[in-house]
């Protein structure tokens, strides 16, 4: 498999505070990579840096071209869908309008209508709520909407920032099942940031442990899952 996303020596800062100190990692074409680590490790900042939402330096290559100098909107237009921290819901617009916005850069009207139905297939509850203001949805429904909106871009790569955050355990399992299905059947590569390491390692093929803006360990997800020392000392389970 070839690399879809390759990141080398990524630095990022908020104002004068440096948050990332040279991260290097990758996502394979059709693969799932997870970034694990505790609060404040720099996982969210990493995703933001990839999308040009914070000041960053380093090499970022997506599908063979450098995206380190592109704006957030141009990166999205290349097929990178970011489901951000806080879900990025347009709370005052309806569920259906949120989905349409996911496809706002596309021109193929008929395919867009089909994709809306496809999202409703994955998340039937959204169909029931299609005319409702998105801000009135529950946390779980908003997370589904966020993933649905990302799918509407027909992305090659999805960046997911703590998709399990604030959701009931049953819902989390359902959601990760759908993510696995999306990866398998639609061929969407995933970069998942998670605090719930057990869950993320089941989904991923590659994993990186992030601590205070540095990668402290990397390897195949399966190896990390089976390495008791790492599990105990870094992941706490």
């Amino acid at each position: 498999m070839t690399a879809l996303l390759e990141v080398r020596d990524l630095h990022a800062s908020y104002g004068t505070t440096r948050v990332l100190h040279g991260l290097s990692f990758g996502v394979l074409e059709g693969g799932v990579t997870t970034l694990l680590g505790g609060n404040g490790a720099g996982k969210t900042t990493t995703l933001r840096a990839l999308c040009g939402m914070v000041l960053r330096t380093g090499e970022i290559t997506f599908a063979g071209r450098s995206i380190a100098h592109l704006s957030t909107e141009d990166i999205a237009r290349l097929g990178i869908a970011h489901v951000p921290d806080g879900r990025g819901t347009f709370v005052r617009l309806t569920v259906e309008e949120n989905l349409e916005l996911g496809a706002i850069t596309r021109r193929d009207r008929n395919a867009i209508a089909q994709d809306v139905e496809r999202v409703f297939g994955y998340f039937p509850i959204l169909q029931k709520r299609r005319g409702q203001q998105a801000g009135t949805l529950s946390g779980g429904e908003q997370q589904m909407l966020a993933i649905g909106r990302a799918l509407m871009l027909q992305p090659r790569l999805m960046l997911l920032d703590e998709p399990s955050f604030g959701l009931a355990p049953r819902l989390v399992r359902e959601l990760f099942g759908i993510l696995a299905a999306l990866n398998k059947s639609e061929g969407v590569s995933l970069l998942v940031v998670e605090q719930n390491a057990a869950l993320a390692l089941d989904l991923a093929d590659q994993a990186y442990l992030v601590e205070t803006g540095r990668i402290v360990f990397s390897g195949a997800a399966r190896e990390i899952r089976e390495d008791e020392k790492i599990r105990r000392s870094y992941l706490g389970y």
Partner: protein, 292 residues
Amino acid sequence: MELFLQQTLAGLATGTIYACIALAIVMTYQAIGHLNFAQGEMAMFSTFIAWQLIQWGTPYWIAFLATVAVSFAGGVLIERIVLRPIQHAPVLSHVAVFIGLLAILNSLAGFIWDFNVKPFPTPFGTAPLLGNGFIDAHQAGMIAITLLLLAFLYGFFRFTRVGLAMRAAAHDPVSARLVGIRVGWMTALGWGMAAAIGAIAGMMIAPIVFLEPNMMLGVLLYGFAGAVLGGLSSPVGAVIGGLIVGVVENLAGTFIPVIGGELKFTIALVIIVAVLVMKPQGLLGRPVLHRV
């Protein structure tokens, strides 16, 4: 009673102009979070362009459409050239820029077309409508044009993809960028539309207040009052607020002897202060909540 009806209708007619200016102010406010004090002078300048075209022999409606188009382009240009470079600057920088724009446009209009008061034609005539004298043809025309404009804007924002993208960019620029919307261009488009709406308001009110560089001063004040009354976050509220201000202004001027013609201006300020003290979010606006 007849006088009351007549004054209410006349108030509604001028209220449509305040509604347009209020709407332009709210659209800009939604896009950039600042109040454009130069909105009135932009409308005045547009009206002078229309006057010039008509002086050169252009038929009224062609001059009208050309002015709307030029104003749209002018609004986009002002955003790109003047506002984009200061988009992250603090409020006071914006206030200074808007006041600068106001002064520049005002002096430039005076420099090009001088400060003498000029009559401006109406395409509707001034004959009383249906002979009952309640409302004249120009006032009815003003109301009709505004209704058409509002219907167009409603359709644009509700049913087109660009309209949806503009709403998304105004509500949540960060998320809008993540779905690939070019937020900067949406802001420029908003400026263009606000300038075009102002141009229409200017051309409609000019036959009544006459054309001169300071013609929009009062209108802008009433427009602000309408925008504040309706709630700065609500385009529908701005329109309703503008209409209410038009009616209140007219009725108070007619029926409260102390106010008469001289103190009419104060009404706008009284409305602004009253709303800000009693219901700061306006009639249809949302209160601004800050998480701390």
